[in-house]
Symmetry: C2
Subunit: 354 residues, 2 copies
Amino acid sequence: MMNAVPEKIAVVMAGGRGTRFWPRSRGHRPKQFLAMVGEETLLNQTVNRLEPDFKPENIYIVTTEDLAAEARRLLPQLPSGNVLTEPEGRNTAPCLALALVTIERAHPEGVMVVLSADHYIGERAAFLQDIETAVQHAATQHELVTFGIRPTHPETGYGYIETSGSGPVLKVQAFREKPPYAKAVEYLTAGNYFWNAGMFIWTLRDMRAEMLRHCPEVLAPLDTWSKAGGDRAQLLDIYRSLPKVSIDYALMEKSSKVAVVPARFPWSDVGSWPAVVEFRKPDEAGNVQEGNTILLDSRNCAVFGGKRLIAASGIEDLIVVDEEDALLICRRDKAQDVKLIVERLEKLGRKDLL
Amino acid sequence: MMNAVPEKIAVVMAGGRGTRFWPRSRGHRPKQFLAMVGEETLLNQTVNRLEPDFKPENIYIVTTEDLAAEARRLLPQLPSGNVLTEPEGRNTAPCLALALVTIERAHPEGVMVVLSADHYIGERAAFLQDIETAVQHAATQHELVTFGIRPTHPETGYGYIETSGSGPVLKVQAFREKPPYAKAVEYLTAGNYFWNAGMFIWTLRDMRAEMLRHCPEVLAPLDTWSKAGGDRAQLLDIYRSLPKVSIDYALMEKSSKVAVVPARFPWSDVGSWPAVVEFRKPDEAGNVQEGNTILLDSRNCAVFGGKRLIAASGIEDLIVVDEEDALLICRRDKAQDVKLIVERLEKLGRKDLL
């Protein structure tokens, strides 16, 4: 028996600031607008990846007002109105609720596919097949589906989903917070734990019903606003009344109607400079070099040069990133401290460098 | 009994390329033209240091043709003709022989004080007193005098002078080549070994007589050229016939009429980036910072910033030098490898960076 073909709507969240990629990423040029991995920006790759299976008018981007012009410039193939803007960032639950109330009248029978603009996904065919699996499940079983990424190492920076069952769609036993290391090792070896990568598939109707059940404080004010005409000038006040909360916490962890599709595609959240380095093939000395560089007697370094020459001798385990107005040198295992540098710049009022 | 007051002529050798200070030093901007230590260029400091005791018209600079304009610009107090130029660098013996034949007619009774433009010398009063001691000795005893620097560590990069005797002027037992480490330790503890710092004091007449005796192949061709009118156009050919040889090797090591005045002034040849760092007071973490820098969780580093921000996290024992078109990162104990980087740039034909 053939299933009906539901209308697929992609919602690409593109509001991130990406401070961990300073000095390459900046407030006006966050990670999703950069080609951190591959030849195109992560945002363009995210949209291109969908294009065989999604009509351009069914691909929506949600970003902040200051980034909307750049998103439209990068994505001329999308209707300009498909770039939705939040008045301010309040985490993912308000973001997706705003997308819902904006989109649902045009696509009442639609299935929403929620993606991040700044992740890496390989093997497009497998990815689109997994989406198809999830969409069919969402449309027929009326569950909220999330992609589960099979862990490759005991990562302590992600939430996990404990599953049961087998086959292309698994049951959810529990959502697990970011674990301590020993717990992460347990999850890795257990085999039925998956990383929660923040990609979701659900019908618009189910999303509405489950949000009204589990987090009406997020959706109801936006419904009221939308029914009153959706006046843009009033949205900021509405928005500021919403809790800053993730969709995982507000909805997924509370709903009993959730399922996991184990991803068969390679995935990375490209979360830091070392993650970017992983995508490059190092030379025999373990070095990755881009741009104008000379490395002598150096090992396990990644040097992302720009216009000027970066010359180094005798260095080890460093990441170097050159930009016109700023240069970063950091120990490979200290890459998360880039955030501290950004905080310092904020304290120093160096808006020119943020 | 009062001694006659001999006329003192300073000859400041300023032809060095200073590749060890790349990227700050360049072909057109060598170390002597930079304020590596202190507020003024090393060349200006060298000349200023002499001014209480030397008439400006008695201070000569010897440099290469491409550097002469900058030397004159930096030293407007000297007669323009006092900046002598070599057609090409052929080590110190030809350099000083050219100075001799150029200067001697105007100062037949003069005493030449040979100095380097790119060394640090502290305590000017002690320095000028030591010069006075050396000048008196040269003028009355007709020996070739060299300043001996009392070693502070077992340096393997300098030649040594073994002395005997005591008092303000010592006898020379032997010049010793750059020693291996164990030998350098011996010299250090012996007490009668001094570093040969390449500063010399001699009467013009004695210099002429001793050069004609020990290295006529250096002086005689220049004499012939000078007597024939000193046509500048012919100098390059003459010069190319001269051996590339140091005054130490050509003259000092061969002459039996040599003496040492132990220097009472602090001295450094400012030979490398770590030597420059020694002149700065480090913070509690052992870091030296100049310019626009942010260092987090970093130790024993020296960061010479420029216009752009240099931000670092978790780095140790590095020297970082920023210039508009190039940046150096090198391990503190690998600073001599800067030469290798310069050689690499030469091979790559990157004249813009040399």
